[in-house]
């Protein structure tokens, strides 16, 4: 089966910051049939139902790489001078531009965007599938309802530490979301208009006299949302130190058939030898170069 598009992805676009999208063109090339074709990347910044910034880039591929070299990064700054506004969101999609081009898979581009404001710490955040995300699909199979959670919430008025949840509704109907805490605080109810985003301040769970709260939250909604959690100053909410996606209330089974486990182990072993890896210009390495798995992370300190 081939496709003429990749599943679009969504990322948040808070006010008062610029957003740099490091588009992974190699992932486009790896999904193109025969590694060649012409695609159109569309990036839309959307705020309160309106497109406020748009980028389009048409790129031709040969042998899995852009024919004219890496087209570079996309920088969006519609909000950079306006920290007080409700957040918006960015939708990023890739489509084939002609009948000659097709994709063998439709996985969305998976990358980290960089949010930066002069004078403040920058932070990274990865994008979310607009639809068909495997954890959400599994969740609907098992629970029949959309549910996200986050286990490490900290609000501290004395240390000026706040957290908020960014709720993104990329669809055409309003969505009602409810947020719950593990200790039974009064739920927060937030309406997210269509094609809009809202920021739910978790300090609203606290009583006026409460100085500090540690706990876990869960949220549900009458439809699927894209959610992020942000760490910020309570006094200056636009001063964000980090952003991370919430985690779906997981529907995966903790136990699997022993025969499936055996197949996975055999697959992993063969995969380490390189025999099952689809060769692209980016991963054409002999098996002895791939036998040691590596885990990689990046951080910045203020």
């Amino acid at each position: 089966m081939t496709y003429n598009y990749l599943v679009p992805s969504i990322l948040s676009f808070p006010g008062g910051t610029g957003c740099c999208l490091t588009v992974p063109w190699s992932q486009v090339g790896a999904q193109l049939q025969d590694g060649r074709g012409t695609v159109k990347l569309t990036i839309l910044a959307i705020h309160e139902g309106a497109v406020i910034e748009a980028r389009e880039r048409v790129v031709s591929f040969e042998d899995g790489v852009p024919a004219g070299g890496d087209p570079g990064r996309e920088n969006l700054d519609a909000f950079s001078a306006d920290p007080g506004v409700e957040p918006g969101f960015i939708e990023c999609g890739v489509q084939a531009v002609d009948g000659e081009t097709s994709f063998v898979a439709k996985n969305p581009l998976n990358f980290y965007s960089i949010y930066a404001t002069p004078g403040q710490k920058s932070y990274f955040s990865d994008n979310a599938w607009k639809y068909a995300a495997p954890p959400v699909i599994q969740q609907i199979v098992e629970y029949g309802r959309f549910a996200d959670s986050y286990p490490a919430v900290l609000i501290d008025r004395d240390q000026d530490l706040g957290m908020s949840v960014i709720l993104i509704n990329p669809d055409m109907k309003d969505i009602i979301c409810r947020l719950y805490t593990h200790d039974g605080c009064k739920p927060l109810r937030v309406r997210i208009p269509s094609m809009s985003a809202r920021r739910a301040a978790l300090v609203d769970f606290l009583e006026p006299s409460e100085r500090r709260w540690r706990g876990q939250i869960q949220l549900t909604a009458n439809n699927r949302l894209v959610t992020y959690i942000v760490w910020h100053s309570l006094r200056e909410p636009a001063a964000v130190s980090d952003q991370e996606h919430l985690d779906a209330y997981r529907g995966e089974r903790t136990h699997i058939p022993v025969t499936l486990q055996l197949r996975r182990k055999v697959g992993a072993f063969v995969g380490r030898k390189g025999a099952m890896t689809r060769r692209t210009p980016q991963n054409q390495l002999p098996w002895w170069r791939t036998r040691n798995g590596g885990s990689f992370s990046f951080a910045s300190a203020r």
Binding site: Y131, N223, D247, F298
Partner: protein, 335 residues
Amino acid sequence: MRKCRFQITHTDTRTDHLNMSTKPSGATARDLRGEMLCPCVDVSHRDFASFLQANSALSFEETLWKAGVGVNCTACLLDLEYTFAAAGRGDVALSGSSAPKATVQQAGLKSAVYRAIDGVAPLVSSHVETWSPVLFGGGIVQRLWIANQHLLYKRDIDGPVPHIAEVTIRDAGGNVRRSARYDVSVDAVLDLGLSRFLTDDGEVPDIAAGSVQIRQSWAKPVLRGTTRSQIEIATTKAVCAVHTQAPGPAATHRFTALSRPAEERLFYTVVNPSPQPLTGRVTVCGADTEASEPIAIPASVPWYRRSQRQRTGGVCLKTASSVLPGSSMVTTSYT
């Protein structure tokens, strides 16, 4: 009731959604969602599966628009999303027993055989193993969080069961500094400070790194729920967090960062979770310059270094002609 915009090919099994509550007691949630998918336009799972088969090139939004489903009250949008994703895998049969025969055939004989074997095989715990760097020094406190909670607003579904987290903390030399097994009971939370295990004498460096390995298992079959482990890094000025990660086989990693020396320090960590030493190169690229140097990491120890300009030599920090004035781009690849 409005008429569906596409050709309905199977009208015999359609169920009026108003009759769904009359199904026999004991029906599963999936049964209750049953044949009807979008009551607004009277479309069943079977209709939608047929439509997807005939229009496999459409995106999700195009599918909704062309089929006319999920765009009125939108209550079925998640079910549509599920069916759409399942169709992409060739297993729309999951959406009900009325799936077209051709779709079942697409799943293939091999899958059917595997499914049959798996159906009778005994279950074993899948043992989720993840890793993370552990930072300490300079006022940094890193913690591990694992929650094991019910779905707070819906406790009548299969709840969590006690689960076990085996946590091993290593220093930069690969020496195990702490290894313990924690039982995380239902509705409990594991909150474990990690940084404190990386110093003996209380001496706090400017910045240093170790690693943590988390192996999770469950006493009996259940759904994972909230048990994905998260790390939290707190400084005197801010907090950030991220989930832990299973190691992958990729031989090359890349990331892009903004180099803004006046505003922040950047550093990266590389953790080698394998039992063999890891060697490779770190390459730092500017707009038209790159510098590369070898690294060697012993087995199962973290390796870290700061991206200081004077240590990485010929790194070119060019001013970006971007919306982020005064910033520069640095791309680093690791092989």
